[in-house]
């Protein structure tokens, strides 16, 4: 058999090494394994492929997917087709960053450590918070992490979640909450947003309130009011936000949120069929010692020079074990670095402009679709950001199928998650869409619905 390209030992290397070890064969090295647990046959896997064969095989699989380069798509619902600039790919492919482990040895890892410190700074700037961790898995799990913080910070056992929060976030929080011993109460939306009075009635004795801004329907919640009601009841307000909205929408720290978090994908990551992306998680200073996951801090070396290290590690599982603030170890550092590079590329002006372009294009789309007979913009009185719901007068999943036949994916069918919304589509418009593409969406929907 030919030498495998990912291996290096020659026959004579192997012989010499076995001699040094004092073993007669490689098989002898596995002498501690009882015969009963040893596999007595080769693994039943397809034969080895060469690099060019594996490329051909996976390229063929990729060709069978209708991605955003092959289909005009208005899908959003938490994952968005924002532009990812070339600088992101270039930096993330630097082998020194790509192929490093978690920076346990800071003198070997100043590059990643400083980058995380810069990332934490950017997240704090965007959210108006004091401390950010180095990332969580995604926008759903950081919400569950925040509930763990809230449970321990308040000692309470109830969790309030608005129904207009991303359903995937609610589902993941629910899965985790059972182990945390938290009971969940959902506050329904009223015409697309949350009623602060209704929230207030639910929030007594709650550890936290999770809401989303803009919410899952794209509508702007009365966020400052929701936060005030939560704070009045001693519940921690947790804001689930879109980083790309924070050039035009207020930072949650400014209106009193205790924690701010969300899915970072929109800022610097490709959709990639759901991951890997990064979840960001930031908090007010008082929660710094309850934060889950890695945090990088500034310090000095023995010569007095500035440097960076993983810090406050007594919170973490490798030190604190069963009393840790979370079990997380591997996070999403490379994707968060993509976020930092992207946010640096944008700068404050670019961030505001992306937000404004999304606002303009989405408003144009709303207006164009409102003109199509048979379509009706849902929650039409509410301000929205880059996404909005539209009623299509028949089963929205059928409309999706019919529109895809014409080469346009018109959006997410809300009936999957909300009762009484089988005829509703959630339409997302990023800065990657053009007015001409929006016109095409309107034409296709007119044909399908009309």
């Amino acid at each position: 058999m030919t030498q495998h390209p990912f291996l290096a030992l020659t026959e004579s290397d192997r012989e010499e090494m076995l001699r040094t070890v004092g073993a007669g064969s490689v098989d002898e090295l596995f002498g501690d394994l009882p015969a009963a647990v040893r596999l007595q046959r080769p693994l039943d896997l397809e034969p080895q492929l060469s690099e060019q064969e594996v490329f051909a095989h996976l390229a063929e699989l990729a060709d069978r997917n209708a991605d955003a380069s092959r289909e005009l798509s208005f899908l959003g619902a938490g994952i968005y087709d924002h532009y990812v600039p070339a600088v992101v790919d270039t930096i993330l492919q630097r082998g020194e960053l790509l192929t490093a482990y978690t920076p346990y040895q800071p003198e070997m890892s100043q590059g990643v450590l400083q980058a995380i410190f810069e990332y934490q700074t950017a997240i704090c700037e965007l959210t108006g918070m004091d401390v950010s961790n180095a990332s969580g898995y995604d926008g759903t799990t950081v919400a569950a992490d925040a509930c763990y913080v809230a449970k321990h910070a308040t000692g309470r056992e109830k969790l309030v979640v608005t129904e207009a929060t991303n359903p995937q976030v609610r589902q993941v929080v629910k899965t985790y909450a059972a182990g945390f011993g938290l009971e969940i109460v959902e506050v329904p939306h009223r015409d697309g947003t949350t009623d602060p009075d209704e929230l207030e009635r639910a929030v007594a004795d709650a550890a936290a309130v999770i809401f989303q801004q803009p919410n899952f329907f794209g509508c702007l919640e009365p966020a400052p009011e929701l936060v005030a009601r939560a704070n009045d009841a001693g519940a921690l307000p947790i804001a689930h936000v879109d980083l790309l909205s924070l050039g035009v929408l207020e930072a949650p720290g400014r209106y009193g949120a205790a924690l701010a978090l969300g899915e970072g994908q929109a800022a610097g990551n490709f959709p990639s069929f759901g991951g890997p992306h990064y979840g960001f998680l930031a908090a007010r200073e008082e929660f710094i010692r309850r934060m889950p996951g890695r945090i990088v801090g500034e310090t000095v070396d023995t010569a007095g020079e500035r440097g960076y290290v993983l810090t406050l590690q007594t919170r973490e599982q490798h030190i604190r074990r069963e009393k840790a603030t979370s079990n997380i170890t591997t996070n999403q550092t490379l994707l968060a670095l993509g976020g930092l590079v992207y946010l640096t590329w944008l700068g404050p002006q670019g961030l505001r402009e992306v937000g404004e372009t999304c606002l303009s294009l989405a408003a144009y789309a709303k207006q164009r679709l409102a003109e199509v007979a048979g379509l009706e913009v849902a929650f039409a009185d509410e301000a929205t950001f880059k996404e909005f719901a539209v009623r299509v007068g028949r089963n929205a999943r059928e409309v999706v199928s019919a529109a895809r036949e014409l080469g346009v994916h018109p959006g997410y069918a809300l009936g999957r998650d909300y009762e009484g919304m089988d005829d509703a589509l959630l339409v997302a418009v990023t800065e990657q869409r053009t007015p001409a593409e929006i016109d095409r969406l309107a034409d296709v929907l007119a044909e399908v619905v009309g």
Partner: protein
């Protein structure tokens, strides 16, 4: 080196954003509108590239050199995997695309599930968990759901963990709402079976075990352990962090384990990215399949692939969508480039580890004198006692020789532990150079201990004060304490990178 914020100057930018002046942007209600812009960096594109390129030169990866970080399996990451994950058909595919528009992605996931079932010797796989520790937590949720379905959830509250376990194990136990039972390690480095017998009963829900353990030793009593747990009606969880030792040689399912997580970023070569992403799929015995997270990726009767949400006994979702798909692309491609030869991967990893161990065991203390699996633990206890040089000092000195240090001070039961995992990557020449450095460092400890205590000497920074960082945490840039630097100075300041 300056922070990117210290290279920033108002008005500079790298991006041009499409604008539509003829479209009217709606007003954001004033109470919801951003009041002050975030202080993101303002730099041109070339300064951005130079900044992050310079950061990369201050970092060390597998691409830079030997990285024997125990328990982390720092192997080579083939570049073709990066090209594949970046194909638009994968990278630009939306996770809520209709099944008919995602057949290639679903097929890839289904095929990976089949492979992982074969490698682990189990029946069903969920790819959803985002990393090993989330796989653990998901596994414990399955345990809870399984016993709830049998009416035993109140009775079975305890999870048994050996003292060699990764810290994630006990942390996951608490997060899943279980109580811990600790079990000791015996004189040969196996789980102490006598200790175990007294601790497993009708209140036990599960065992969490890493095998080979974090000592790099395969538990010789695995059959007996299996009898104890299954005999008591409890389940067995396999922490797959060390799966790289046994692919094609021994399968967790055949050892008796009911649930396994697989670290795709270790055994199956997803690059670790300086801290992540990872992937933590779980494989389970058929009795646990009904409880797996939704949606399940399934092959339909018509030969196509789909997502099945209709699993009434599911624990729910543990992460968004169906998991970190880009990681699956890389790991699937990686495994296909081995095929059944995965066995050679593990055999070589074990040979490399034993060779390095054989060369080092006279110079360092060896807590358990056995052949090792894919990694081993030695101790700097004697160096500390005789010369005052600790495992930390040895680790820092290794940097001067151009190697990433091993994992240190873990597992906790070995004082001054140095945990070395060479992986199957590496030439014999590299392994020899590392061994020579380790032996030289042991000599230096005797002759010039300050060389170790003051190390590293040639990294971008000297030894860093971690106590200070924790005592007075500075976790973001203090704009207020650092007035905006003069613009000209900022762009001219190309300070050498401190070497």
């Amino acid at each position: 080196m300056k922070l990117i914020y210290e290279k920033s100057s108002p008005g500079r930018r790298a991006s041009v954003i499409p604008r539509y002046e003829n479209l009217r942007a709606p007003e954001v209600p004033s109470d919801l509108r951003r009041s002050e812009p975030p202080r993101l960096p303002e730099v041109p594109e070339f300064e951005l590239i130079r900044h992050f390129t310079e950061l990369s030169t201050r970092n060390f990866g597998v691409d830079t050199g030997f990285y024997p970080l125990g328990s982390c399996t720092m192997k080579y990451n083939p570049r073709i995997n990066e090209r594949l994950a970046a194909l638009p058909g994968f990278a630009r595919l939306h996770p809520l695309q209709e099944e008919e528009g995602a057949q290639g992605a679903l097929e890839l996931m289904w095929r990976l599930q089949e492979i992982l079932a074969e490698v682990t010797g189990l029946d069903a796989v969920s790819l959803q968990p985002a990393a090993g520790s989330q796989g653990e937590l998901t596994g414990l949720m399955l345990v809870r759901a399984y016993f709830a379905a049998r009416g035993e959830s109140e009775q079975r509250r305890k999870v048994v963990i050996p003292d060699t376990a990764h810290g994630t194990n006990p942390a996951s136990v608490t997060m899943a709402g279980y109580e811990l039972t600790h079990v000791q390690t015996d004189a040969r480095g196996n789980v102490d079976v006598d200790d175990l017998r007294g601790k497993v009963d009708e209140h036990t829900a599960a065992l969490m075990l890493t095998n080979p353990s974090t000592l790099g030793l395969f538990d010789e009593n695995i059959a007996e352990i299996e009898e104890i747990f299954h005999g008591a009606g409890a389940l067995m969880y396999y922490d797959g962090a060390n799966l790289n030792a046994v692919c094609g040689i021994s399968r967790p399912g055949d050892m008796g384990f009911d649930i396994v997580h697989i670290n795709l970023h270790k055994t199956f070569s997803q690059p670790h990215g300086g801290g992540g992403p990872g992937g933590g799929p779980i494989a389970v015995r058929d009795i646990l399949e009904p409880f797996l997270p939704v949606p399940a990726v399934v092959r339909r009767d018509d030969g196509g692939f789909g997502l099945d949400f209709d699993r009434p006994q599911t624990i729910g979702k543990v992460r968004g969508f169906t998991g970190p798909f880009g990681v699956f692309v890389r790991s699937y491609a990686y495994i296909r480039m081995w095929g059944p030869r995965l066995r050679e991967m593990s055999e070589t990893a074990v040979l490399n580890a034993n060779y390095v161990l054989a060369r080092l065991k006279d110079a360092y203390d060896l807590p358990f004198d056995r052949l090792c699996m894919h990694e081993f633990v030695v101790s700097a206890r004697s160096l500390k006692k005789q010369y005052g040089c600790t495992a930390l000092d040895v680790a820092k000195r290794l940097m001067d020789y151009g190697f990433h240090p091993p994992t240190i001070y873990f597992p906790l039961i070995v004082p001054e532990a140095l945990m070395v995992e060479p992986t199957e990557t590496e030439t014999k020449e590299t392994l020899d150079a590392f061994c020579d450095a380790m032996l030289e460092i042991a000599r230096e400890a005797a002759e010039q201990p300050e060389l170790l205590k003051e190390a590293p000497h040639n990294r971008p920074v000297r030894r860093l004060d971690e106590v200070r960082a924790a005592k007075r945490p500075v976790v973001k840039y203090g704009f207020e304490e650092h007035p905006q630097p003069d613009a000209e100075q900022a762009s001219a300041a190309q300070s050498p990178s401190g070497v």
